[in-house]
Symmetry: C2
Subunit: 192 residues, 2 copies
DNA sequence: AGACAGATGGACTAATTATGTCTAATTGTC
DNA sequence: GACAATTAGACATAATTAGTCCATCTGTCT
């Protein structure tokens, strides 16, 4: 990793909690510089604008989360528990921060405006990873999608859609995990 | 309670978390109005300025906390555990919110500038309440301050000073409770 | 119905704050 | 000393905010 990237990463690591805490608008460049322990002028040496910094932060957050998702899917347990863990990671890192307070909502809007492509790419990637996990499990004979008349990608799409739906219904409350577990039991029962 | 007071209380209950979360400066009147579910114009029907609203909020927070402190001191257990609970309440409600983030520090500064008298009065009240509890316990023969050559008010003053000292040393971390408990054991051993 | 009081959205000004740029000075490194 | 990175600070401009005002609306009381 170059010196420049290390510096940028350090800034983004400091900036992300500030954005999550205050939203995009209320997180000033001065706040972020203070959190990173550098001057405001230095911030502009690494990023040309607040929007560019935010976008880089979104990219970093998504990349880090997707690495964790991959690790979860490569971990131990049957395909259902691995998917459950992966989905929980995705929700905790990339959905929960945008639910609850007015600032969180504002942050979500900012992300839609400035980094929609990043979010959509990560979502597509998640579907692809889940589909691959399901496909592998089917090849290994551990699950059967025949009775559903669905391809792995279709099932993966439904899982991700369910995350959105449950989030929309339950917000960030504790019922999210509950509902998600119910959904996973449903899935397990259907295709085991 | 008058209609006017009920409205004001409702606003303050909504405003306090906003101040705690964002500090004084970053908590806008629009944020507070939104949190209270009223219009910004209505906010100015109850409070003439942001500073007046903040001061009223500080008064309310201190009053509520002192009621809890009194309840703790009137509760069950020996004088040490009651004092320990009372001190914990005071710390959780009136000290912890001002420690940690930069916003919390800014909030503390605002409170010093706009409601220093409220804070000092509450602190004096806490000392008086602790002194009364110690005095009652001594009258009942449960503790003895003779070996310390100190009056109840002196001991109460040291306890409150210890809160400040430990807070200053440990911030808002989990070590605060630990250190406070150690201090209480020390007190218990000395005057039981 | 009509009078009345409180609430609201919107417009408005003045003051404050934020963004982004620039420069001169400072620091640490080769 | 040369060099690159960092910094504080000043700066212009854009965006927010506090506080005020008003026309309008809503619910209540008579």
């Amino acid at each position: 990793m170059s010196e420049r990237d290390a510096k940028s990463d350090h800034i983004l690591d400091a900036a992300l909690p500030v954005f999550v805490r205050h939203g995009f608008r209320k997180a000033s460049m001065a706040d972020i510089a203070r959190a990173a322990g550098i001057s405001r002028a230095s911030l502009y040496l690494s990023f040309n604008s607040k929007e560019e910094l935010f976008r880089a932060g979104s990219i970093r957050a998504h990349a880090r989360t997707m690495r964790e998702v991959e690790a979860a899917l490569a971990g131990a347990g049957d395909v259902f528990s691995r998917i459950e863990t992966a989905v929980a990671v995705f929700q905790r890192e990339l959905i929960a921060p945008f639910v609850g307070s007015p600032d969180a909502t504002e942050l979500f809007d900012a992300n839609m405006a400035l980094a929609k492509d990043i979010m959509l790419a990560a979502r597509a990637r998640l579907i692809a990873l889940l589909a691959q996990a399901l496909s592998d499990a089917e090849t290994a004979g551990r699950i059967s999608l025949g009775s559903l008349q669905a391809r792995p990608a279709d099932v993966a799409g439904v899982i991700v859609a369910a995350i959105d739906g449950i989030k929309h219904a339950e917000g960030a409350g504790p019922k999210f995990a509950e509902d998600m577990q119910l959904f996973m039991r449903l899935l397990r029962t259907a295709i085991s």
